[in-house]
Point group: C2
Chain length 255, copies 2
């Protein structure tokens, strides 16, 4: 088995499920640290700041610093700053997105005459926000969305994700969004820049075939699939392109 | 030209645009009344009660009684009462939808354990409402939606319609909705029952090819297209199946 120096590690379904740690996750991270691997937690969740994510991990027994967290909001902010350095943006989202945009110095506006509409999950969504986003896109604003997840698990079942709300704007305007999070390569490229390792020495670890593993495949980096989250082991045989490796749980890796 | 006894008449783009009457509409309706035609105003707008719609028409100079108005909410209520006579429904919508369901005696619940989710446009939409709808559908509730319009015109441009919000539930659950409003045949069949005329003696008048004219084509009734609303005359040549008749404005008809 190849030696990897850099690890991009998914959170939900890989490190924890909701508010419960996945049993093998803390010792997996401990081992990576003992072996002096570079690691970055990589999440499509756009709602939290890196500080909030690191705090949650630490509370679950997985020591983590904010600078080891990279969210779809952070990738989005870096992308927007690069593509529209002086652009103004109408933003729908939560603290994690607004915080990331502020840190990159992106100019936020409430005006529908703007350069881009940026969408992340917003539990305080209103008709007015969506109408404004729709009008801005019709006037020519680019539509940029943190992630395309149509649904995500809650304690009661799947609830609508940011992809579903982005669909409101797409079907009402006919304009497709540029998504940033996994499985897009944009978030992986930005994460590698932060991690500081090359593609060939980096591996992406995750449970969700359609986001995590596809992100690795799309970006051309190796992948390690676990079956502690969304994609069940029973689906392995049908996967069109296989992950580089798979383990039933993380104890089997690095042992 | 054939004589028609029954007229199904669209509102927005045919009788008025927003809050402005279309010039030829009042005299068109007056002539139909003089000739003792049966008429029913047929709208995909689910938010208003028939009393509110009749009042608006009257204020615009088009005399109308509530019993001459048939909305997608009324068609939805009749459909639900027929399909699920003792069912409980979780409802997203405005006064027009709740009013129609109450009149048909449909049992409304706030519980995600229910028989159907019914969706109409809701300007007070919240994440919680959409999450509940999504959970209910995952638990097996049917998804029924007043109309599939993805967008509708406002003074500033197109804003998201009920079809766009129904898409949130469809993409997050993988379940397609049963739509009721135009271009579906369900609303036309229910409207004909109210109007009391047969298909062969009825004509549907409207401006929107994809909703009005397709509804007539799908239901097998003749259509009269006007170019005072959504579909411009320039598109006439490209229309895959033509309306039975078209006029540039309603003065040309019955003259």
């Amino acid at each position: 088995m190849k030696e990897y120096n850099g690890y991009l590690i998914d959170l939900d379904g890989t490190m924890y499920r909701g508010n419960k740690v996945i049993e093998e996750a803390p010792s997996f991270i401990k081992k990576l640290r003992q072996e002096r691997k570079s690691l970055l937690f990589l999440t499509n969740n756009s709602s939290k700041t890196p500080e909030q994510v690191a705090k949650k991990l630490t509370m679950l027994g997985i020591e983590a610093k904010p600078e080891e967290v990279f969210t779809s909001s952070m990738a989005t902010a870096k992308y927007v700053k690069k593509k529209l350095p002086h652009g103004t943006c109408f933003v729908i989202g939560e603290e994690g997105l607004f915080d990331a945009l502020h840190r990159e110095g992106v100019q936020i506006t409430d005006n529908v005459e703007c350069d881009a509409v940026i969408m992340g999950i917003d539990h305080q969504i209103t008709y007015e926000k969506l109408a404004k986003a729709s009008l801005a896109v019709q006037k020519g604003a680019a539509l940029i969305s943190t992630n395309s997840d149509n649904a995500f698990p809650s304690e009661q079942g799947l609830v609508p994700g940011n992809g579903a709300f982005t669909a409101v704007i797409t079907v009402s305007t006919g304009v497709e969004a540029q998504f940033i999070g996994k499985p897009e390569t944009i978030i992986v490229e930005e994460a590698l820049r932060v991690l500081g390792t090359s593609k060939s020495e980096t591996i992406l670890v995750g449970d969700n075939y359609n986001t995590d593993i596809r992100a690795g495949i799309n970006a051309g980096i190796d992948t390690l699939m676990v079956f502690t989250g969304v994609t069940p082991f029973e689906q392995y045989e049908e996967l069109p392109i296989k992950p580089t490796y798979y383990v039933k749980n993380l104890n089997e890796w690095l042992s």
